[in-house]
């Protein structure tokens, strides 16, 4: 483990409020009406910050790919953003976003500036949810790379492990503002125990769920009837894509003055691939449904050599038709 510092939770909350009051964008998952999602931290919600629980309703991508953005006038984002409490599955998903938005030919500076200006404080999942299945895809339910700091709550303490130069600088910065101390070996042992327990819990729940490569093979081989059966309840609402940490498709909308608005889109919507003249490779609902599985388990991994499903399980949580992705996959086996 890298350098770990400890800070009392109340002091940590105060620090977040202080940073927020100074004009920085500080986000953390806050519980409200039974679920929790990212909110800008303020005096009136800091007590509701959820620590080390899987997972905020929204994926981490919302901080880098806004739902709607004017790409004609929109430029680089300025100022600092700190996202507290991102789960490891979402952090892993950024690898695909980076590959697509910081590619060799067309670098999207809006995305790049948001990535550069954001400190990601990942959170180990001490409490996992029924839909969590990161371990089936070779991931741990705690951040190991791809973010700046890994955060764990141990009792009334917050432990922060530095994972990047940016994270180290942030830890030094906060040590100058509030009381921190180096974590003791007992603290580290405790969080390692909490992590191991969470990993065991996720692995047990997903016993027999195939890995991504095997899922890809099964997805490509399953017959059209299989997809017809499993898509029959799908209403093409697109929720699965909206809350997926790796779905990035968008629509360009024209506005007078040659302005272009980039807005989140999904292959699950009818007419996503329709061309002039009416040809539409994804006309059939079952083909659209299958397309998403192919994208996640075959095409994007093949193209970018990263995971395109990181096992967050939000698509199953958010499906209003009750389609459970992993039940679909288990039926292929």
């Amino acid at each position: 483990m890298n350098r770990v510092i400890k800070i009392n939770r109340e002091e940590w909350n105060k620090l977040l409020i202080q940073l927020s009051d100074s004009g920085e964008r500080i986000y953390a998952p806050v519980r409200k009406n039974g679920s929790f999602d990212y909110e800008q931290v303020a005096r009136d919600n800091a007590d509701g910050i959820v620590y080390n629980e899987a997972k905020p309703s929204s994926p981490l991508k919302i901080f880098f790919l806004p739902l709607r953005l004017n790409v004609t006038s929109g430029g680089r984002q300025s100022g600092r953003t700190v996202v507290v409490g991102a789960p490891a599955c979402d952090i892993e998903g950024l690898k695909l976003l980076d590959a697509m938005y910081i590619d060799e030919k067309y670098i999207d500076e809006t995305y790049v500036s948001r990535r550069e200006n954001t400190i990601i404080i990942g959170a180990a999942c001490h409490k996992t949810s029924d839909s969590c299945h990161c371990t089936a895809y070779g991931l741990n339910p705690w951040p190991g790379e791809g973010c700046d700091i890994s955060m764990s709550r141990a009792g009334e303490d917050i432990l922060l492990e530095s994972l990047s130069v940016k994270g180290e600088a942030f830890m030094t910065e906060i040590s100058g503002i509030t009381g921190t101390e180096e974590a003791a070996s007992g603290d580290i042992l405790l969080i390692e125990k909490l992590r191991a327990a969470a990993a065991k819990e996720v692995a047990k729940r997903n016993n027999g769920l195939p890995g991504t490569a095997e899922t890809g093979k099964l997805t490509a081989a399953a017959a059209p009837e299989f997809w017809k059966k499993h898509s029959s309840k799908c209403v093409s609402c697109g929720a699965c894509s909206a809350i997926c940490p790796t779905c990035t498709c968008f629509l360009l909308i024209d506005r007078p003055g040659f302005e272009k608005i980039k807005q989140q889109d999904t292959c699950q919507y009818p007419a996503f691939e329709r061309v002039a003249g009416g040809e539409d490779p994804l006309k059939e609902l079952s083909v659209r449904f299958h397309n998403r599985y192919m994208c996640k388990y075959v095409w994007k991994p093949e193209r970018f050599h990263v995971l395109a499903c990181t096992g967050c399980g939000r698509c199953s949580d958010g499906c209003i038709a009750g389609i459970d992705k992993n039940r679909v996959i288990r039926e292929m086996v």
Binding site: V71, R76, T248, L252, D254, R255, F258, G277
Partner: protein, 275 residues
């Protein structure tokens, strides 16, 4: 192209002339605000201010940068709006995008081109390029099919091509419509019964409606073309042009960035390509 304003930057262009090519197809000759450079087979996104955007492969010569010609078939909402444009109208150009025809691979070869309908538009740009390269190309054979003789576009171009010593053209109309027609009738694939090229030293280019591209490609394979020597121009719903928005995904490929020109060998593993 390193900032977002650059990525989505519009170059304004004024329509100079609108040419009626067929009842449903018009060519728009436009002057961009700045010289516009592209390689043959690359495509552009054309914007109608506030109304929408659509991808087209220029039909003009890449050697001419002060004018750009785009040939558009009226077949949907936005293409109908394009057809309403008059000389003096201003539109926006983004691009050029994608991978065009690898014409350097055509040197020393016999080039068999199979076009259908409005698919002759990108081919016309390719032909302008091949005319410039005519001393380096052994032979060019153009096979073109349209629904009827009236639907045949770029009619004046054919006699000009035939006047070049190593260029030949053959046309076919699916059905007669009562107008004069000295060429043949039937599907364009029928013209492939006698391909008129030396198969041991030939490459093929196909561009047209999906169904025609499918059967032309299968026929080319049948008569002996190697999969890696068949160049297909895959026109999908290209939108951003940057390999990001996902609308033109064809398996693992982003047609806008990896294509629109692919060899059959590159994409044949995907059964969905003809959809």
């Amino acid at each position: 192209m390193s900032n977002i304003n650059g990525l989505y930057k519009i170059l304004k262009a004024t329509v100079d002339e609108v040419i009626d090519e067929s009842p449903l197809i018009k060519t728009f000759v436009m002057t961009p605000e700045e010289p516009f450079r592209f390689n043959t087979g690359e495509f552009v996104e054309l914007t109608l201010d506030g109304q929408g955007e659509a991808p087209f492969t220029p039909s003009s010569s890449p050697f001419v940068t002060e004018k750009l010609e785009v040939t558009i078939m009226k077949t949907g909402y936005i293409t109908s709006k394009f057809h309403d444009l008059k000389p003096g109208s201003v539109l926006g150009i983004r691009g050029p995008f994608g991978r065009g025809y690898p014409v350097e691979r055509f040197v020393g070869k016999e080039v068999l081109i199979v076009g259908g309908g409005c698919g002759l538009a990108p081919i016309r740009s390719l032909l302008f390029t091949l005319i410039e390269m005519k001393d380096q190309i052994k032979k060019v054979v153009l096979l073109y099919g349209s629904k009827t003789p009236t639907d045949c576009i770029y009619k004046p171009m054919f006699s000009k091509l035939n006047s070049i010593s190593n260029f030949e053209t053959y046309r076919s109309a699916d059905n007669p419509d009562g107008t004069d027609w000295d060429e043949s009738y039937g599907l364009v694939t029928k013209l492939l019964d006698s391909p008129r090229v030396d198969l041991s030293n030939a490459i093929a280019v196909v561009c047209g409606p999906p169904i025609m591209m499918k059967f032309a490609t299968l026929k080319l394979v049948e008569i002996g073309f190697r999969d890696e020597d068949i160049f297909l121009s895959m026109e999908k719903n290209m939108s951003c042009g940057l390999g990001k928005c996902g609308h033109c995904m064809m398996g693992e490929f982003f047609v806008c960035k990896d294509g629109p020109v692919f060899t059959y060998d590159e994409i044949k593993h995907n059964p969905e390509i003809w959809k």
